[in-house]
Point group: C2
Chain length 365, copies 2
């Protein structure tokens, strides 16, 4: 029996599941009573990115508006244990992402200027059940106050979330540790589809590295310069800048048709706010597909043409060429399209200094 | 209806699924009639790593012996389309890996000295069914002969595999394009648990980069210097070198107890073959867990001690310190333990030149 238990434990461990003995008695705090950051505006629901009752959004993006992409709970605690129990939908993992990315949590603890990875909360995934999860993220932690940044799932709804800490320990909401407000809108690349955990999307990486507050409005496969998105972004009054990855999903024809109107709508409310358009990355799906090569190169050419035309009459619009951003070895994506952590790190190393330089001109630093 | 179809297609695309129109009529070739590389020795079954009928393996590793980890089909074709249909087990994805890694295929096409990523074959994963898959990897490909290296799933059995090419096109087995035989044995890190696709494990990366033939005998969670593994490795007569990641899974006590016997068994059959022991990487699960910090640092100290002791009396044993191999930003893993493509690329950039230098001394280049 002991042997069977050992084999079972080893097999579970190997599968990335958890066999945790939990001696401590924990107290559980509803995370919505702490500080949730990452919503462009308060939505009235703690874990929804956008309130679709209040804002008309493209019909095919309604489900995504309820995702917790880019949201994080910020709190401090002196507990030696930090656990989470949370509920999501029953959705199955996508084939190009792990369940940790899709439904898991990702914790960082502040160490001076740096946010240090502290642990993920692994979701429970079986053929029958994928909605209720519990995991001990930090165990046997050091003494003293820990400032915590806990990123929520990028690809699912969070219906409820509780943070578990030791009985007798302190836990309190923290102020948003990030400065300004940069709204990032785009495709699955912004959404972070093939990142390994929710803190590894490029907006989250840049947020921790620069200290600038990044809002993730990535909409996988759905970011095609729709007017509804422009209207939504326009009314985010306190946005200090916008970064766009809006040329990954639409065709050259759609870009040509929609780009100017998209900018017009934002410019009505934000006449001089910096709008930073990034070129879509060169996809490795082009490598051996002549039609994709043609489609993607026409799309990139149109994107550059439209942004550069607009720059002629608007000095607060920027175009960042993505040449070489994910490297030249064709190893930066999971599937030819979606950057992995390797691709994202390479992207950030290229794009971050350029974005930081632009923002500095506006006193955003 | 059209609208619903559009939304459905977009949703499937966004989830990484495929809506492929396939006009061509394909002919299907049983991949086992082509050349399958990556078995340390022929197993009599095309997609099993090790024949457990013939070799006594640790009881808890029997299932892993049937996995196709590290195996690849090599063939050439002038077809413009390369498809695959294959069957695996019904297993669910592990939480720290994607279904592409676990059950998918990963294709590279030779371009001069380089193996260029050409596409993945995405498996079909639903709550009900996860064993039958079909995917078009290359479509609208260029004219001419293409030399193909198709890595098989790292975390599942392959029961059958057919390659689909255009009617009238040629397809033929290729010789193994890699030189010598380096057997890599170790843990989930060698196995490649959180790589994004099966060609992104560190042995597969090094194989394509160096041209050296790498056999992947990674056994997630199960690589604890067992005698059965030593006996198996010992009888791989034509192994030119062994690389070990055998200090990731066992405790300091197990390393102390088993290390010398493990080496003794291999040395009986391979008296002077280079044995390259790599230190286990510094895990980020240590960051905020004092017990893990203690466990891991004792394990690393014992590993180094035992290998260095042995090096005193065996000049063909090597120890590679892993200090800094996955970087110092704590961003190289999916979960604190398992390197992502980012972690693997960083590892390879450190370990590959060291391994290549050692092997050169033995004329292995």
């Amino acid at each position: 029996m002991k042997k069977i238990l050992f084999i079972l434990s080893a097999a579970l461990l190997a599968l990335g599941m958890s066999v945790q003995a939990q001696a401590q008695t924990l107290k559980w705090i509803d995370a919505s009573t702490l500080n949730i950051i990452g919503q462009a505006e308060p939505t009235g629901k703690p874990y929804d990115r956008i309130n679709t009752q209040e804002h008309k959004m493209p019909e095919n993006t309604i489900a995504y508006c309820g995702f917790s992409t880019g949201l994080a709970v910020v709190f401090s605690t002196d507990s030696h244990v930090i656990s989470a129990r949370w509920t999501t939908s029953q959705s199955m993992p996508g084939v190009n992402m792990s369940a940790i990315t899709q439904k898991g949590l990702d914790l960082y603890i502040r160490d001076g200027e740096e946010w240090v990875y502290a642990g993920v909360a692994r979701p429970t995934i079986t053929a029958e059940k994928r909605d209720k999860h519990e995991y001990t993220i930090v165990n046997n932690g050091p003494d003293g106050k820990k400032e915590c940044l806990l990123y929520l799932p990028i690809w699912d709804r969070v219906e409820s979330l509780e943070i578990g800490v030791e009985e007798g320990s302190a836990i309190a909401a923290m102020e948003n540790p990030f400065r300004h407000k940069i709204v990032v809108h785009g495709s699955s690349i912004t959404h972070g589809a093939s990142s390994s955990r929710s803190g590894m999307t490029y907006p989250a990486l840049m947020e921790r590295r620069t200290g600038l507050y990044m809002i993730n409005l990535g909409y996988s496969g759905m970011s095609t310069l729709q007017e509804e998105f422009a209207h939504y972004l326009a009314q985010v009054e306190d946005a200090d800048a916008f970064v766009f990855d809006t040329f990954s999903n639409p065709s050259a024809e759609v870009i040509e048709e929609r780009f100017d109107k998209f900018v017009d709508i934002i410019r009505e409310k934000h006449p001089t706010t910096p709008l930073i358009f990034t070129q879509t990355i060169r996809r490795d799906t082009r490598n051996y597909n002549l039609k994709t090569e043609d489609f993607e190169s026409r799309k990139q050419a149109m994107a550059e043409k439209k942004v550069r035309e607009r720059m002629q009459r608007d000095e607060n619009i920027y175009f960042l060429d993505s040449e070489g951003w994910i490297g030249y070895d064709h190893l930066g994506t999971a599937d030819g399209t979606h950057p992995t952590d390797l691709g994202f790190m390479r992207m950030v190393e290229h794009m971050e200094p350029q974005i930081v330089n632009i923002l500095k001109k506006y006193g955003i630093k």
